[in-house]
Point group: C2
Chain length 360, copies 2
């Protein structure tokens, strides 16, 4: 059809239509489903999914909608990766280290023992090689990842008895999160226990469970574990920070018009910075409440952390031997981390040494 003749014949309405034609193309209605690996009770984490959805909608005048589904609503918590891989889900909100059973490389997307802190992780993923290397690896699962936030440094979990030496870990029945940390703890003699979160309180009370790790004060406070496991250890050396991600199916993403692609990327950043700030703001308040209650805060004795460090290096060496892909990502992360630690000594760490001891 001759475009000019259309305009000529259509009067004002036709001119309008011709003038906005490219915009119409970009403004198609799109509906995505997001499946999360997290339950609604983790409101800070889930807030990141909801913010993502709200911002995508706002940026596209309501035309691109992403419905958010907590773990179990559309599929089991850890079913999201398979759904992404077989192109039946557009986007997941999850943590890479849940999938180390498929491949240990997944751990680097979230947290590894004695790994990067929050700003270091952001820098490695966004400005170092971390993001590139991981997206390369994720390709075979048909997705790429965008940061959805970070819990910041986690606590070391709740224990019925004090951990005074590495020997106290031997035979300890502990509920553990995902990742390489389980392998490290196994080397230390810990016996990993699998159970739903809802059973933890009773198991600790009965003594069929000796310890459990979770997140940090804000999330942990809700579990009310201080009565059954009063010793709350720090720091969580296996999660110096824990980034969670949006896994975005590549096929679904490629189909989007450019404006919607930009909206997805921008909304992820809005969500990420919001939730990281929330953890940073809320953890201290929960910490104060826990300290005022029955919880006894204990620092891991150095020999315990040393034993964990030694075991972690063994785990890394084993995986590097087995998998060149693991070695590639590990070596890059480790080199980046060494530079960061050097700089940290000249900057924030040294400042904190002063201010943390100052009388404000």
């Amino acid at each position: 059809m001759d475009r000019r003749s259309l305009i000529k014949g259509a009067g004002l309405a036709g001119v309008l239509a011709a003038g906005v034609a490219p915009a119409v193309q970009a403004q198609q209605a799109v509906r995505w489903h997001m499946a999360s690996s997290f339950p609604k009770s983790l409101d800070t984490l889930m807030g990141s999914a909801e913010t993502f959805s709200r911002v995508v909608k706002a940026l596209t005048g309501g035309k691109f909608e992403v419905s958010v589904h907590a773990a179990g609503e559309l599929m089991p918590a850890f079913g999201v990766l398979d759904a992404i891989q077989d192109n039946s889900l557009e986007i997941a909100q999850t943590a890479g280290y849940y999938f180390t059973g498929k491949d240990p490389v997944f751990a680097f997307a979230c947290a590894v023992p004695f790994g990067l802190t929050t700003l270091q992780m952001e820098a490695w993923r966004r400005q170092g090689n971390g993001g590139k290397l991981l997206d390369e690896f994720f390709k075979k699962y048909n997705f790429h990842a965008l940061c959805a936030g970070n819990t910041t440094t986690q606590m070391g979990g709740w224990y019925r008895k004090e951990i005074k030496s590495p020997d106290d870990l031997k035979g300890l029945k502990m509920r553990l999160g995902g990742g390489l940390f389980g392998e490290v703890m196994a080397k230390l003699g810990v016996v990993a226990q699998n159970m739903p979160g809802s059973d933890v309180y009773q198991a600790l009370e009965k003594g069929t469970l000796d310890a459990t790790e979770f997140v940090g004060p804000y999330d942990d406070e809700k579990l009310g574990l201080s009565k059954v496991a009063p010793y709350y250890y720090y720091p969580g050396w296996w999660e110096a920070s824990a980034q969670f991600d949006f896994f975005i199916n590549n096929k679904a993403f490629d189909k989007l018009p450019d404006e919607y692609k930009a909206a997805v990327r921008a909304a992820a950043d809005v969500a990420a910075i919001e939730v990281t700030s929330k953890y940073q703001a809320r953890n201290p308040q929960a910490l104060k409440r826990l300290r005022a209650g029955n919880t006894q805060f204990k620092m891991f004795p150095k020999p315990v952390v040393d034993a964990g460090f030694k075991a972690a290096q063994e785990v890394y060496a084993e995986h590097c031997d087995k998998s060149p892909e693991f070695k590639k990502v590990f070596d890059d992360m480790r080199a980046f981390q060494k530079e960061q630690i050097l700089w940290n000594r000249y900057s924030e760490f040294t400042y904190n040494q002063y201010i943390n001891g100052a009388k404000l």
Copy 2:
């Protein structure tokens, strides 16, 4: 005009036009100017402005354009606040503490001596009361602020001679950045020198200047000062972090359709997280290069930092006495900081104590 009759008469083109009418309203062309207080040579900082512009454009299909102008192009570096206030500029990229001459409250938007670190600042501005209190204050200047990034912890500057005790600061001719820091240094006997950045090298060489502070390794490296002022001190206790902002004229913002408002907010977050990560990734690399050269890294002796700390508390007390508005923001920031420091001891700081000393 009867809308239905228009559609009826217009055929296909008319139907298209009627169908996209709301989108057309939201898709009007908008052009903003952004004036920065920073020169092009600070490529990391300027990158934040360029990213903001690029993302706003991408999110709006090219219809909302923000032209970026380095310091001096449209107006002098520090003329941006007046332009924003008299509604002749839509958006500025600047640092709050450049405007403490107008009101010392401005300093809290960027950095105050012995203030918040990067994640703490993000949390205070976004999730604590910091953002709300400051935007309330900024109203009289007709703008609100969105974070444009953070330099992370800065260095303490370049010195021709070693600073071994607080006495070495007395009479020291030093070029200083903005903010309350100048008042603190005046109490310590430092004589502030005003000069363009381009004169600093020669002044240090001649000895008409004894010292200068700037940013961190990545930005400072370009100045090439190690030959004329070889002592590079840390940590920059007056800039534990330094946030810079987009100042957004309220009138211009209110006129935007909702989608464009969302685009402005999201683009600011994209820019902020990008540039903070850049500083985090680039500073260690520049640090290594500087260490390999003539630069001598020196930690400020504790008595010097103690003297700075005491002087800073005096400056705060004086301003709190004079201004209830200052006191309101200061008290809130300080209370937030105390909570953060408590949490830091249980989390990242304690982790860093271990990992910074570990043999990786």
